[in-house]
């Protein structure tokens, strides 16, 4: 019962979010602010994690395919496809749900419990739209870029680690990552990141917008928001993979 109540309330909130804005100029200013604070600030995290995971995957693939019957190029191919299909889209979304999602819930939740949202409403501002719309647009816009950055630095991590760890030569690795490349995998993943971006912004925004109580409740809402966003990301991953890939 409670589940359906929340789903209903979530869509009611979205309806308010996507209604006509009061003053475009103010929204655009917010949008640039959000792109900067939510997106640009996440780039370093994405780069660091991707470089390490790329490196780790190369070593693991190399060990599990240490059979001389397998061509060496499989290591590059495996690393590339894992990055492109799952890691840089889904895993990255799960990680960013923690960073961006909890940030969104605590910001909006704090505004709720300190009456800043009431304050907007009394002025006659559509608070849901003013606070949430720029965040959703910002995150949906930056997710595909973060995806591409993640794939690039993941592959780079493999290229650096493979030869240093002595598991594969740079030439074999580079040949591998070009072998049997399907561009559709990238298109498919970018479509996924758009959905994930929407979830990572809108679900935590929902939890923040409907906080009741004080600072402690904002903290609880952040945790709940991240957990629920993660479950939804995995659910959508399953659905989209079934729909688009098979």
């Amino acid at each position: 019962m409670k589940f359906f109540f929340h789903v209903g309330q979530y869509f009611y909130m979205l309806k308010k979010v996507f209604s006509k804005p009061e003053k475009h100029k103010m929204y655009i200013r917010q949008l640039f602010h959000e792109i900067d604070s939510l997106g640009v600030n996440s780039i370093w995290l994405v780069i660091i994690i991707s470089v390490f995971i790329g490196g780790i995957m190369v070593i693991q693939f190399a060990y599990s395919m240490a059979n001389p019957l397998y061509p060496n190029t499989l290591v590059g191919l495996g690393t590339r496809d894992t990055l492109i299909l799952e890691f840089s889209s889904t895993m990255m979304a799960l990680i960013l749900a923690g960073k961006i999602g909890s940030n969104i819930t605590s910001e909006i939740g704090t505004m709720r419990v300190t009456e800043q949202i009431d304050s907007l409403e009394i002025m006659g501002v559509n608070s849901a739209s003013y606070l949430i719309l720029p965040k959703i647009i910002a995150v949906v816009l930056i997710f595909p870029f973060l995806y591409i950055i993640s794939v690039f630095f993941g592959l780079l991590g493999g290229l650096i680690t493979g030869p240093i760890a002595g598991v594969i030569t740079a030439a074999d690795y580079i040949a591998g990552i070009q072998w049997l490349f399907y561009p559709y995998y990238v298109t498919f993943s970018i479509i996924k990141t758009l959905f994930f971006g929407f979830l990572v912004a809108s679900v935590p925004a929902y939890f923040g917008y409907h906080v009741q109580g004080g600072a402690l409740d904002v903290g609880k809402a952040s945790t709940l928001a991240v957990v629920n966003t993660n479950v939804l990301i995995l659910l959508f991953d399953l659905i989209l993979t079934q729909l688009l890939l098979t």
């Binding site: 009061e22 003053k23 800043q116 009431d118 009394i122 002025m123 006659g124």
Partner: protein, 254 residues
Amino acid sequence: MIKVKNIYKSFDGETILKNVSTQFDPGITNLIIGRSGSGKTVLVKSILGLYEIDKGEIWYGDINLTRMPEKDRKKMRSEIGMVFQGGALFDSLSVEANVRFPLDMFTNKTPKEKQERVEFCLDHVNIEPIAYKLSPSEISGGMQKRVAIARAIALNPKYLFCDEPNSGLDPETSTVIDQLIQNLTKEFNMTTIINTHDMNSVIEIGEFVLFISKGEVAWEGTNKEILHTENKKLNDFIFANKLYAQLKKEGENK
């Protein structure tokens, strides 16, 4: 002027406001007092149109808010300023940007005109230019309240609402805030409604006092009358504070 006529409001079958009628005049500070849970906040939020009332009428001048569609209510809100209990300043914006916010959102003034208005408002609440660029977390609670007042008057409202403007402030700062609200009310001839627990404020600026008990109007009058009232409920409320019990006794002995 705000007129409230026989309003009722209930939540989940529980009646919170019962047949409340009163009138708040412009140019004076109107106080709503009452115990915690008596319905002060619900009354104010109903007057503001944030809660739908069950029955009755709310008039802003000769405009009937109760009959107004949501769209027109939004426009109406630009004539209303509100100071929240905690100040409710936007903590991502500087002091100056907080006051500019309603101007950015609802006017087509040039940046220079906006800046002039911001400075005018902040000057009226005695905020020095040195604090303009600070963020709300960098200024004291009393200053936050003053900035909140400056933001509330930025659009030159006809109506000013303050929910417990003194909560969390020391008595001296409270008096300063009370005086400030009263002075602004006179200067701009606003209809000001203040929700309070604070007996000091009642005595200082209670030009009109509405006493709410269990959602009903139990008494109304002025701060001069309040110390001489025979109303049992009101006396219980006032004399919870020993100091005023003393004052009343002295008044009676004279």
